[in-house]
Symmetry: D2
Subunit: 366 residues, 4 copies
């Protein structure tokens, strides 16, 4: 298996890098939501390659076709399926089976996993192309959550050795949100974005790639989403974040910073918010989650992104055909840093996870 | 919901801190395994409180009773249920509903989540006591995996500002494994363990607590466990790790270290292992997982553990009964550091996750 | 696997005929319901053996112990586990492995399925004893549904060649409901019950057994439970009904009678109910379900129950130890007809299924 | 929800009657199977309308496009998605919301279920058109099962008052199988098929419709598929059979006939089969299933099919727009009997269910 997620909102993605289309089925999405196609297109464009020098030159229009679940411009509550056709398939020069396996990629493990029958061309089912239907599904969830007052934001917290500032405590204003979504490399400080781009292009010039970290937050969540142990908000969200190709670490709130804190520093004191009569916390080390359940404060997470495995520099590997050591030089154009494109995917995953928790909560009738 | 996990191996835990018993149901566990009750008791003892000055003084014998799924000392392949009676229940001095919610705990979020009907005594369903049935289930999985050649090891990589060395590349020998399991605070370097204990006792003396990091590895895994996207090995394992109370970050392989690496440094080159003819990698930055699937190299993960929220120092909070600010002083004995007891739980979660992946793989008939 | 059901309300049963206890875990049961322990005891008593000449002489007190999920007499919304101890275990005279497999039983198929490691004593995990935790879980669901205005009723529609009248269109009054629950063999016409008992005792006298049919209905359901295709009300309920040992056919509404009807006869015309302004149907051939979704009319189902396989008469079978033909005479006391005890189990399964559909529906936020 | 099935083999269908396409995603299908496209086309043609006077005149070519999961003509083991375009969409004359709800259809219940946002045109998500992707998925499963020696056959056991003979004990020969698959109304006795057609056309002439029963069997199954209680073969298969629009009863083996049998008649005696040394049963009342698990004998099931609800005769109903009684005359061409088209769907559902049980069994490693 590989491509199904969720118990309350069921999501199933399909497609391969070089197949005719990628797509997603959503079973359990709420009925009656008017789809904002413009906002949807924006999210797909953020993820699409070919935007600038930092991303691959392949151009994909990524226009979704809704095969089901939408009627008169609104969701019907029934299974929603949307597909995105792949226009620039190049199938020419691949053999029947993978030979030189790319280090850091799934070529070898996919070969073992699928008994040699996998569509290995361009990464096949492991390809970043599969994140397009995820962004599509996540954008729909984000639109629904937006109507409930929830805002999800992400940015590049670091790229190589360049660091942006952390997200503020209060939800950024609409202007900032629009600016972040419009930036090829979203950063709070424009000069950080510039220096990140330089670091990426420097690596590219050397036939190499760089990694970084993505910071993500959600404002406007109600207290009470999630459950102790296996349905904890952290469990559900990390499950989704680690499904993003290239993510190798996930932290909530202070994350690894907790290791050096004392309890008296790490605990977020509860307070009554005088204006609203709501229970809030004075600090937010825990990232909005206590005991696996949202506490109404901003949810905060950080993801570590590995450098793109596809690099121009020659690498040591093995030939699966001849079962011997070999050298590999990956040709073609590849993102020297996938972080700009991970941001919309991370937001999508967050929206999918929050929707799942929201539905689970709604099912808990009294 | 809160307490079910798994699609192939279904696990369901139950119980509350102050209820008559905690337990676990395992549906789908392999038939025919002779249970090593001594090894099982050892794991439960490692998790149990009251071992030494660093853990709470409550004594729990934690002897499991198998209600089903075991016949003639072997697993039957049918649903296995085991319960652990709670001997030292103290129900005396609790009211009908929670009042002063403990910062860092689930008192407030649980109250919202369960509409005020939750058994809040001692943490109720959120209690660390629920990790006893998890260790029980995980120990059975670990025994089965052991028979397939898999060894899972964890240790305290850091406590407060004291750091142990990282796990070696090769699986530690039997002597080292036994020693780690016997240590109240498992560390590779004995002097690190001593200094960690000192740090814990120093915090305790001040009515405070400390956090740390746990490093975990598994040797002997076959290549091919896991799948791209939602069943990635990282997704399944992080889902379980984040279900452990107190875990706030999970990293695989180099984790956040990837952010500063270049692709040429981060990629693990493939090589033929001359002696065995197996495909291996020359380095293991990826922690044994490529594209969400194990590659046959040691699996490596690191978890950040927050300092125990229960501290003697007075804290600011709110009274849910009066809906106003209040001060709270937590009485009673609590672990000044839960890390010693997290180690067996993390190993258990790892074993449960690997078993789930193993069964998923086995279901993939050709 | 064998013992887990449900996506929204997760149920997991465990235990074997001759094990120390049977029990059930319910994950997702609503919070805040005060448990009516008397009504619960009544349902367990209805299912228990040893009630009269028609059922086996084994006496089981079947008093449940709640290990979790109940606090101050109310459900907490957290995992609920209840166990029923088995007091009359007789483990004496069984070997290590099954030999003469009983025709009509799961002895042979269970042996193949569990590789010979199954606890075969008294039917093991296949035993009707496992219906005790199902009745327990179902009774809790029925209490919750009762508070929403739903009433579930069943009776013996036929035993051998004796037939009771069918359930009326309107929900029976409280007096009738109490009477049916109190009857050892629930029938609408007392003389039918008498003649059914005679038929059962006649078969018993000859060392034989008889089958029959159970009719079941639920009043007070809202329109809108279920979904087309795989979550159809019929799919979910039949899944549960066929999990009852001995059920070999399930029909909704006119069932097999539809085969001989014309569309103009089978269609239930919609009408406005003048008093209430509700949409109703003039007839109810479809048993309250259109397109897999309840339409607000009474839900109606009929189950065929096979005659008890355990009979005193000698039977032909094989010896698995010697792999040769053999003759078997089953000793001990067995129900000559399981139908009296199937009624409470069928009602329980119906309640569990309706609760699952109810929660699914509740999760469908707009 | 509505359209997802399976734990081991996950299936998700999508589409509406008047949408651009219907399709299916299969997650967990075995890798390496060469797809027999001709056999696949035959199954889709059997289900397609417009074949003859007994089915609707709408012509659908039903050619599937594989969007993923197939490479070099073989399944890859990764998510397989196939879509079937709808060529003859007529969207013209529908309003924004359903008004006169058709008796026997899901128009009313779907309206309640989906809050009025459903795509109601032509039955929307409830349409028989959705059985096309089910047949597609089932045909792939059947091909895989065929390679393991399993043959699934169905026929019209009865239509209106005309009855065919029951399936023989031994698997029909290839010639008979081909003939049944080629018949518009598959029956063992050709004269039965003729008289069934007459009955259907007679009803059609009167603006009415007829129902019937489908008998289905599977030969070549191993013993050991299924599990007690919730994963019983009957539970899994009936779940799928009741997902077929129009099915109102499902029986295994003797089904309702068991009600009148005595245990000594109903039990199938076990015997050693001298030629093979296998354990078999002398009779097969139980339809190849004991205790929810296949016993290696032919699996036998019977389904009751209601008469097509869409009839030309005027019917009483209500107007949802005006909330008052109304009369409805359904125009357009509709099958006067859906039974001919149910046969391939029932076989598909059987294949999907058996594959699910097969994978569950395969996951039960020792």
């Amino acid at each position: 298996m590989s491509s199904s997620f969720g118990q309350w909102l069921k999501l199933s993605i399909f497609g391969q890098s070089h197949g005719p289309a990628v797509g997603v089925t959503l079973d359990g999405f709420p009925a009656g939501m008017a789809i904002d196609t413009e906002a949807l297109a924006l999210e797909l464009a953020r993820r699409a390659p070919g935007q600038n020098a930092m991303t691959t030159a392949r151009k994909e229009s990524d226009t979704p076709e809704f095969l089901s679940g939408v009627f008169n411009g609104r969701t019907t509550g029934q299974p929603l399926c949307a597909v995105i056709r792949s226009e620039h398939q190049r199938s020419g020069d691949y053999g029947d089976s993978v030979d030189l396996v790319r280090p850091g990629h799934a070529d070898y493990t996919g070969h073992v996993r699928y008994f040699g029958f996998e569509d290995f061309r361009g990464g096949g089912s492991f390809s970043g192309r599969l994140t397009a239907p995820i962004v599509l599904a996540g954008a729909l969830c984000a639109q629904w959550l937006r109507a409930q007052g929830v805002t999800i934001v992400s940015h590049a917290l670091s790229v190589a050795d360049v660091r942006d500032e952390v997200l503020p405590e209060a939800c950024p204003d609409g202007e900032t949100l629009r600016r972040l979504k419009a930036m090829p490399l979203p950063a709070l400080r424009p000069e950080a974005a510039d220096r990140m781009s330089e670091a990426i292009l420097a690596a590219k010039a050397e036939g190499d790639s760089v990694g970084g970290t993505v910071e993500l937050a959600a404002w406007g969540l109600p207290a009470g989403l999630g459950a102790p142990f296996f349905d904890s908000a952290e469990s559900v969200l990390s499950h989704l974040f680690f499904s993003i190709p290239g993510v190798k670490a996930v932290a909530f709130g202070d994350g690894f910073g907790f290791a050096a804190l004392r309890g008296s520093e790490a605990n977020d004191p509860f307070r009554m918010e005088p204006e609203t009569g709501r229970v809030v916390t004075a600090t937010n080390h825990s990232g909005g989650i206590n005991g696996g359940i949202t506490n109404g404060m901003p949810l905060r997470a950080t993801l570590a992104i590995r450098p793109t495995p596809s690099i121009a520099k020659p690498q040591q590997t093995v030939s699966l055909q001849r079962m011997e050591n070999a050298e590999l030089a990956i040709r073609g154009r590849h993102d020297p840093c996938i972080l700009p494109r991970v941001c919309p995917v991370a937001e999508a995953m967050c929206a999918i996870g929050l929707m799942e928790l929201w539905k689970e909560r709604a099912a808990c009738v009294k």
